[in-house]
Amino acid sequence: MNKKLLSHFIVFVITAFIFIDSAAFAIAPIVNSVSPSSGSVRGGAQVTVKGFNFGTAYRKPIIISNGGVQISDYQLLVIFDTAQLIVAGKMRTDCGDVRVFDTDETTLLNYWIESGCNTALTRIWVKVPVVPSGFKQIYINYGYPAYTSLSNPQNVFILYEDAEVASSWTETTLWERKTCYANAGSYSWGYSNAGCADYDTGARNFGDIISPSFTLPFGTSLFYYDKSHTEYSGFVTNPSSDRETISISTDGGDNWSQISLYSGQWNWTSRSISLASYSGSNVKIRFSFDTVDRSNNNTPGWYADTIFIRKTPATTPSITLGPEQIVPPKIYAGGNPLSSVFFENQNNLTGTTPPHSAQYVDITVVNPNGESGTLANGFRYIDDPLTVTVVNPNFGSTDGGTSVTIEGSNFFQTPTVKFGGVYSSDVVFVSPTMLSAITPSHGAGIVDVLVENPDGGSGLLVNGFRYEAPYASGTTNIDFSNRWAWNDVIGWMDFYSTGNVNVLAGKLQGYATSSVGYIALHCDSSPNGNICGSSNFGVTNDGVGNLSGWAWNDEIGWISFDCRVTVDNCLSSVYQVTIDANGNFGGWAWNDVVGWISFGCGNIPGSCTNSSYKVQTSWRPGGLSATLESSVFDTRTSSTLNSIFWYGFLPTGGRVAFQIASADSPTGPWVYRGPDGTGSTFYQSAGSGISMAINRSYHNNYRYFKYLILIASDPLVINSPRIDDVFINWSP
C-alpha cells in the first residue's frame, strides 16, 4: 500500500513538473538543419527545417457574413468561449494572449475585451477595417503564454469614455469621476456631492460633462450605461422634476441639440441613441443634469459609464466561428519570412523560401510564444541569371503604346523594363518566364530591351525592339536599320523611309527613295498611285525569295531585278536579287544608266568591314503568316470563355489558329494564351466549323477579352486561308 502511494506520488510530481515546465518556462527552439540547404534567389524552394522544441499557437477563423453594403472600420462583436480554452491550457487565464488578425493573417486588428474572460460568453469587440458585402474571414489567435494584452477600447470605438482615467472630457459643478458606483472598472462619471449621498446644495443646481470634438462617420449610434438615483417623477407631466439630458453640438459647443431627455432607472441600464443624422459632422457630446428646483435633491444622483460610439449599419453582419486551427512557428531566411509554413511536429517544419539576394543567410524559427532559435548561414541563395530572349512583337510605333510580351527566364514579381533606356509604364508579371509590357514613346530606331529584377539582377536583349515612325500611307516590313542598297553613281537607295515598301509573297510594293527621286517597285503602288492601266510593271516574288521584273525611276529609267527578263537573257551577265531565309536581300540589280545596284555588302567579299549595309525584310520565304488582333470586347459581367470556332476556307498546308487574352480592365493587361496558358501554343482546329474548347482556367471570371488570329499560307505561298466568321462562346 505504501509502495502504491509512493508510486502515485512520484507520478504526480513528475506530471506536475512537466506541466509547470511547459507552462511556465518556455523552451527556445533549436534549429539543426535545413534541407535542401540552397536554392534560387527567386525563392520558391520547398525546405524542411529540422530541430527541437518547435511550438505552436492556435486560432479560430471568424467568418463574417454581411448581407448589406460594404462597411469600413466596423466594430464587430465576437462572443466565444474562453473558459474552455483556458481549462485546456491553450489560453492565458487573463486572455492577455488574444490577438485578432485580418484576412491576410498578418495585419493585427485592434480589439477590446469588454467582459467575460474565462467564461463561455467572452465579449470581444474587433475593429475590422473593411467588411465587404458578402463574406470575409478574419482570425482570432491565442496560445502565446508570454504575451500581454493589447485590449484597448480607445483603438476600437469612435469615442470611448469609462472615467477610469482622467481624460479630455470636461466637467462642471458637481460632475466628477467617482468611485461610489461603476458599471465596469472602478469609476464612473457622477453628478452628486462628495460621498454620493445627494446633490443638494440648498438651491437649484446643474452641470455638464462634455466630450472633446471628433468627427462622426456614416451611420453611428451612441451607447452608454447610466444609473439614476434622482427625483423620480415624469418630467413630461411634471416640469419641476430633475432633468437628465444628452445633447450634441456641431459648432464646437456654441449651440446644442437635445438628443435624449430622460429621468430614471435606479439600476445600471444600457442605452443607445442613433447619431445617423449627424454623419460627417464634427461634434461634441454633452451629458447634462439639472435639478430644476431645490426640492427632492437628497438622493445619490446621476451616473454614466462605458460611453462609446460605434457603427450601427442597417444590416448587422453576422459571424460564425470556424474550427480551431494550429498556428505554426514563423521561419525567417535572412530576416524574410518563409511562406506556407507547416508544422509537422515539434522537430519538423516545412516552408517555402522568399526571394533574397545571392548569399548565405541565417534560418530563424520563432515560436508563437516569441522564443526563437537560429541556424547561422543555414541556407544559401544562389543566383539565377536573368535572361531576355524574345520580345513579341519586336517592333512598334515611336508613339509607344504597343503591348508586347517579353520571354526569358528568372523574372521576379515586380521587375522593371526599359526600352532604349526608357521605362515601360505598365509591366505585368505573368510568370518567371514571361512579362507583358506597354512600350514607352521613343525615337525611331532599334533599341535594347532591359529587364531588371528588384534585387538588381538584369537581362538585356540587344536590338530587341524596333521603333518605327508612324506613316499615314501604311506600314513597311523593311527593317529600320537594314534598309539600304548602293549604287556607285547615285549612292544610297532607302527602302524604309517612305514607309510603304512591303515584300509580299508575290511581289514588292511601294517605292524607295534615292538621290534621283522615287524608285517605284510596282505599278499598283507608285508615287502617283495605281498606274497599272497605263504602265504595267513591277518587281515580282516567286514566294521563295527569287525576285524578278522591273522597277522604275523617272531619271534613270528601268531597273532590272533579274537578268532573265532582259533582252540579253543572262547571256552576258548573270544576276538576280534574292531574299534569303533571314529576310536579307542579296545580289544585284541593273540599270542601263547607272549600272549595278548592290542589295548588300555581302555581294563583294570583305566590303562589309568598310560599309555594312543591306536591305532586310520581316517577310520570310517558304510560306507567309500574319496575325490580326481583335478589338476589346466587353461581356458586361464576370464571365468564363468556353469555346471558339471559325468558318471559312483552309487550304492544304495552310493554318488558322487562335490565342485568347482576357482581363478585368478594358486596358488589359493583355496576355495572349494558348491551351497551355502560354503564348507558345494556339487553339488550332483541323478546319472550318470545328469547335475548340478554351482552357477556362486561364479565362475565368474576366469581363473583357480579345482574340488573336494567326493565318499562314501554304508553303508555296499560293493559297491563303480565308476566315469569314469567328465565334466565341462564353458564360456569365
Binding site: 463574406f135 509580299l504 507567309l624 503568316s625 478589338s631 477579352f705 486561308p721
Partner: protein, 218 residues
C-alpha cells in the same frame, strides 16, 4: 400416438429432455420473433425519419442548384469552400441568401439540421470529373454541392447526404463576321453587338479585298 411417444405403464407422454428441448426451442423462436419485431419497428422509425430528411435534403439541393443557374458567381465566388465549411439558405420574397452555418428544421418533434458545402472540382485528360487536389485541371464552370441533413434520436446521430455537380450552363455566343472597317479600333465593344473593325494586324493581312473575310495578301 406415434412411435416416438414415450410410454411407461401404459401412460404415454414426453420425457423431461423433450420438454426442455421444446422450451428451449420455443424460447429461441420467441427471441428471434421479438428481435425481428423490434427490428421491424425500429426500421419503420428509421425509415420514417429518412422519409422526412430526404425531401429536406432534396429541397436544399434544388434551391442551391437554382442559385447556380440564376447567379453562378454567387456560388462560385464564395470565398471559403470545403467539406467542413457549411452554409445554409435564407429565403426572401424574391431570392435566396447564403449564410454560413446550418439551419434547424423541426418536423414531428425532431430537429433536423440542414446545411450544404461547396467544393471545386477538376477534370482529367479525358474530361472526367475528379476531386480537387487529385490532379487534373480545375474546371471553374463546375461545382460540387453536398447537402447534409442530420438528426439525433436516442443520442444517436443519423444523417443523409446528397451530392450534385452543377455547371455554368448558361452561355452566349459572340460572333464577328466582318473586319472591313479597318484597324485601330481598340474598343471596348459590347460582345453582343460586336464591331466590323479590329485592333491591329500585320501588313500582310487583307480585310478589304474580300469584304467580310480575312485572308493573306499574297
Amino acid at each position: 400416438m406415434g412411435d416416438s411417444v414415450f410410454c411407461v405403464d401404459d401412460e404415454c407422454g414426453q420425457s423431461l429432455l423433450e420438454v426442455m428441448i421444446a422450451i428451449a426451442t420455443g424460447a429461441l423462436l420467441l427471441g428471434v420473433a421479438t428481435v425481428s419485431v423490434n427490428f421491424m419497428l425500429r426500421s419503420k422509425v428509421v425509415t420514417k425519419h429518412h422519409a422526412i430528411a430526404a425531401p429536406l435534403a432534396q429541397e436544399l439541393l434544388d434551391n442551391v442548384a437554382s442559385i447556380g443557374e440564376a447567379r453562378w458567381l454567387v456560388l462560385y465566388n464564395i470565398p471559403i469552400k470545403g467539406d467542413d465549411i457549411l452554409y445554409y439558405l435564407t429565403e426572401s420574397s424574391t431570392s435566396f441568401s447564403i449564410l454560413p452555418g446550418s439551419e434547424t428544421i423541426i418536423k414531428d418533434g425532431i430537429s433536423y439540421v440542414r446545411s450544404f458545402s461547396i467544393n471545386n472540382v477538376s477534370r482529367d485528360g479525358m474530361n472526367n470529373v475528379i476531386s480537387e487536389g487529385g490532379g487534373g485541371i480545375n474546371d471553374p464552370s463546375t461545382q460540387k454541392i453536398t447537402v447534409k441533413v442530420s438528426w439525433t434520436l436516442s443520442d444517436k446521430i443519423s444523417f443523409i447526404t446528397l451530392n450534385k455537380f452543377i455547371t455554368r450552363w448558361k452561355n452566349f455566343s459572340f460572333g464577328q463576321t466582318d473586319w472591313s472597317g479597318g484597324g485601330g479600333a481598340i474598343g471596348p465593344f459590347r460582345s453582343d453587338r460586336g464591331t466590323h473593325r479590329y485592333g491591329a494586324a500585320s501588313s500582310a493581312i487583307d480585310t478589304t479585298s474580300n469584304p467580310g473575310s480575312i485572308q493573306l495578301n499574297l
